[in-house]
Structure formats: structure tokens, C-alpha cells
């Protein structure tokens, strides 16, 4: 079992796992400053799955890095329980087997190879990867790599999971499989999840709440609560309707 540490740190009250208030962030580049976020607010309750959708380049990745403590805001406040990142590309280490990749976060904190493997092995079995324990990433399929990558983030043992477009690089069929898979995993292993995606359908199928962001400089322009039992079918009229609402909030023609 992965023990999530108690969800209390960094001046958060009991209802919040993540709370960003009026956060702004500007990057200096050679072609002048680029404002990624302007007045962005976001919150997530413990064990809530919040999807953030927005057009390309609206500062979604910056948002996750703020939550993970990899950056600091120029103004506004960021408070979050400890968060582990699942990057957009799987970024598995090519020289490590699946099991050693999955246990990387444990080794990062000083566990021995054996300890990390013992912790990871039951999870690989749960994720249907037990036959691939000793397989290197190059020989795994895209879906398997994302599962190993997700497991690596999960085994970091943080209460908040920051998922950056986790399935964007997969083909359509594998992506649907993986979305169903993630929904089942979160059912049995609930965490606070901030899910960045550009796929509105993915957001509606997986999340408790969808936050819609504006083009750069990004800020929240809409929020859709999704009170629907899981698993959700993407053909369900209610899902279709919510998807249309989210697309309308994004300003897309439906």
C-alpha cells in the first residue's frame, strides 16, 4: 500500500487540498515578457478530481508547476498539499525496467532498489503489468508506458496528483481505454487530482468538476459541476450535453 501523508500542510483549511487565488505569472523571454497566467483562481477539495481545460498555450503547464512548487507566482497565493507530477510525455528512464521506473520516486527518497521493487510489485500486478516487470520502456506499448508513469506518480505517496495531459500522446482507442482505467483506479485509490487536458470529453468523463480557462494570459472563465455516477459513457446524453456546455464556455462552435 502507498500511504498518502496526512493532508494538512501549508496553511490549508480542511476543505481544500489545493487553493490558488488570483495568481499571475509572467516569463521573460528574448522576445519580451509572456504573461502565462493573470488572475487565475482554482481550488480542489480533498479527493476531488478537477479537470482544467483550455486552449493551447493558456498556461496550463505553468499552473501545474505552481501547484507542485516548481515555480512561485509573481502575485496571488498558491497553497497546496504536497503534489506529485505526471508529465505530459511519459519520461520513463530508458535504462530502467518497468518496475524500477515505477519505484523511482521511492529511490529518490533513498529507498534501496529492493525496497522500491517490493513496494511497486503488487501495483504492477494490479495494473496488469506483472509480466512486464523487467521490460524496458522501449518495448512497452504507449498505454503501458502511461500506466507505469502514472504508477510512478502514485508511488510518490503525495495527496495531490498533478496530471499534465496524461493521454494526449496516445491513439484514440488506447486513450479511451486509459480513461476508463484511470476512472477505475481513482475509484479504489481516491486522490486529489488536477487533470490538465485539452480533451473536453476526457474532462467530462473523468472529473467531478471542470474548470475552463481563457486563452493566454490564462484565468478561469467557467466552471461546470458534474454530478454523475461513474463509470460514465461518452454517448450518455447527459455527458454529451455537459461536453457541449464546456465547449461553449471555451468559445468553440459546436
Amino acid at each position: 500500500m502507498v500511504e498518502a501523508p496526512p493532508e494538512e500542510p501549508r496553511e490549508l483549511n480542511a476543505e481544500d487540498a489545493v487553493r490558488l487565488e488570483l495568481v499571475s505569472r509572467t516569463f521573460r523571454t528574448k522576445r519580451g515578457p509572456i504573461q502565462a497566467l493573470a488572475g487565475m483562481s482554482l481550488h480542489a477539495s480533498p479527493r476531488e478530481v478537477v479537470a482544467v481545460v483550455g486552449p493551447s498555450g493558456c498556461g496550463k503547464t505553468t499552473l501545474l508547476e505552481l501547484i507542485c512548487g516548481l515555480q512561485s507566482p509573481d502575485s496571488g497565493t498558491v497553497r497546496s498539499a504536497p503534489a506529485a507530477l505526471m508529465p505530459q510525455r511519459d519520461l520513463l528512464l530508458p535504462w530502467l525496467s518497468a518496475i524500477d521506473n515505477a519505484g523511482l520516486a521511492l529511490r529518490a527518497r533513498g529507498a534501496s532498489r529492493e525496497q522500491a521493487r517490493q513496494a511497486a510489485a503488487p501495483w504492477l500486478e494490479r495494473f496488469g503489468l506483472e509480466r512486464f516487470e523487467r521490460t524496458r520502456p522501449a518495448e512497452l506499448s504507449g498505454g503501458m508506458r502511461q500506466r507505469v508513469s502514472f504508477l510512478r506518480t502514485l508511488l510518490a505517496g503525495k495527496p495531490v496528483l498533478a496530471l499534465d495531459e496524461p493521454f494526449a500522446a496516445l491513439d484514440a482507442i488506447t486513450r479511451q481505454d486509459m480513461q476508463g482505467w484511470l476512472a477505475r483506479v481513482l475509484e479504489s485509490e481516491p486522490r486529489t487530482v488536477i487533470l490538465i487536458t485539452h480533451d473536453v470529453e476526457e474532462a467530462v468523463v473523468l472529473a467531478d468538476r471542470v474548470v475552463v480557462m481563457s486563452p493566454r494570459p490564462g484565468h478561469a472563465i467557467g466552471e461546470i459541476d458534474i454530478h454523475m455516477p461513474r463509470p460514465r459513457k461518452r454517448t450518455d446524453p447527459a455527458v454529451v450535453e455537459l461536453r457541449e456546455r464546456a465547449l461553449a464556455a471555451l468559445g468553440a462552435e459546436s
Binding site: P87, A108, R109
Partner: protein
């Protein structure tokens, strides 16, 4: 079978060049062949002088192999130190670049004075000339680690040392091989020049003394062996890389590994 077919263009080109060389020397006449011996004389020298060439080859090969080994070990250590200290990089890079421009002949006599006429001064020369490419390739490899991986390790609360140990060092290992492969050619030249100044054995010594003895074909034969040795060493390093780091190997044509 396919590998054999892929070698055919190189073989045809080589044969054409050798043929042109033979023809050119024949047209120039027999005096010229004392300066540039035709291929058939070189082939003859390879055969008749085989025991001298073989024992000389063993001397030079030892110098080159040990020299590259020393340079790789020291180069890897310095690269890691440079990776952690930009100040050290700024301090050492100009000197390393300068060391590449210094002709071996300038400091070889001093080396012979300090270290004698044995293998030691040759090792130093080979190590100095190959050091640079190994350090440049390795530091580049260490610096080229995906910044997103470093960020990922930070969200896993990894210390600087653990990030280095688990992520940066393994990703840079293929670059060490790349540096050693680039070093092969210069290290062979380095060994030859080191033998020019202060030795009585090795292929460089054979080349040096064959000219005044009017045995030009023997000198060229020694050169041919050096060339084949460089190719073999390059291929050997490629093979070693494939065995040691199978995850990093992507087929990329034959010799251009």
C-alpha cells in the same frame, strides 16, 4: 548477408582509389616510388616485414588503449566536477581548448626528460590529446538531460545528488562512449608523434626511420596498420557500447555508430 552487401560500395571505392594510386605511381616512374611507394610494394612490405610490424603494432596499440582509458577515467571525473561547478568550467575550458592547439612535438621532449623513454610519456600524450573530446562530449551529455526529468525528480523530493545518480549520470553514459570514439583518431596520431620524439619501438618509430632508410613502403605499411587499428578500435567501442548500454543503442548505419 545484408551486412555484406552494405559493405560493397566502400570496397569498390577503396579498390578504385588503390588502382588510381598504383597507376599514378607507375606513370611517375621508379624514382617517385621512393617517395610514394605503389600499393603492390606496400602489400609486399606488409608481408615481408610482418614480424617487425606486428611487434611494433603491439607497442602502439598498448599506448593508445591505455591512453584512452586514462583519458576516459579522468575526463569523466572532470566532466562531473564541471557539471556541478560552472566556475570550474569557465576555468578549465580555455586551457583544454589550448591544449588541443599545442603541437605534440613541443612538449614531447620535455615529457621524455621527465618520464624517460618508456610507455609513460606516450600515455600522457595520448591522454592529453583525447581528453578534450571526452570531456566536451560528457559535459554536453550531462547538460542535455531533459529539464522536465529534473522537475519530475524535484516533485519526488529528490536531493541534487540522487537526481544526479539516478537520472543525470546514466543519461550521460552514451556521451562518454561518443567522446571516446571521437578520441580514437587523434589518439592514434598522438601515439605516433609521441614515438617520433624519444622511442625505439612502435609503429610511429617504424614510420620515422623507414624514410631515411629508403624503405618508404614499410612506412606506408605501418600507416595502413594504424588506419585499420583506428577502424577496429572505433568498431570495438561501438560494440562495447551496445553491450554495456543496450537501451541507448539505435541502429544508425555501419561504422557511423
Amino acid at each position: 548477408m545484408r551486412r555484406v552487401w552494405r559493405g560493397i560500395p566502400a570496397a569498390i571505392l577503396l579498390l578504385a582509389l588503390i588502382g588510381a594510386w598504383e597507376l599514378y605511381v607507375d606513370l611517375k616512374g621508379s624514382t617517385f616510388s621512393l617517395i610514394l611507394p605503389p600499393p603492390h610494394q606496400v602489400a609486399k612490405a606488409l608481408y615481408t616485414d610482418r614480424s617487425l610490424l606486428w611487434s611494433s603494432f603491439l607497442v602502439t596499440a598498448q599506448e593508445v588503449l591505455l591512453g584512452i582509458l586514462v583519458a576516459t577515467a579522468l575526463g569523466a571525473v572532470l566532466s562531473v566536477a564541471i557539471h556541478f561547478s560552472p566556475t570550474l568550467r569557465r576555468a578549465t575550458y580555455p586551457l583544454m581548448v589550448a591544449s588541443q592547439a599545442v603541437p605534440v612535438a613541443v612538449f614531447a621532449p620535455a615529457l621524455a626528460f621527465w618520464l624517460g623513454f618508456g610507455i609513460l610519456p606516450k600515455l600522457v600524450v595520448v591522454a592529453v590529446v583525447s581528453f578534450f573530446s571526452i570531456v566536451v562530449a560528457t559535459t554536453a551529455g550531462l547538460a542535455a538531460v531533459d529539464p522536465d526529468l529534473i522537475k519530475l525528480m524535484r516533485t519526488f523530493d529528490a536531493s541534487r545528488m540522487r537526481t544526479f545518480w539516478h537520472v543525470e549520470l546514466p543519461s550521460a553514459l552514451p556521451s562518454v562512449f561518443t567522446g571516446a570514439k571521437i578520441a580514437v583518431a587523434v589518439s592514434v596520431i598522438g601515439a605516433v608523434f609521441a614515438e617520433y620524439t624519444g622511442s625505439n619501438s612502435g609503429l610511429g618509430y617504424v614510420i620515422l626511420v623507414s624514410q631515411p632508410q629508403l624503405l618508404a613502403a614499410r612506412g606506408v605499411a605501418a600507416t595502413v596498420i594504424l588506419c585499420v587499428f583506428a577502424i577496429a578500435l572505433f568498431g570495438l567501442l561501438g560494440l562495447g557500447e551496445r553491450l554495456a548500454l543496450p537501451w541507448a543503442y539505435r541502429p544508425r548505419g555501419e561504422i557511423a555508430t
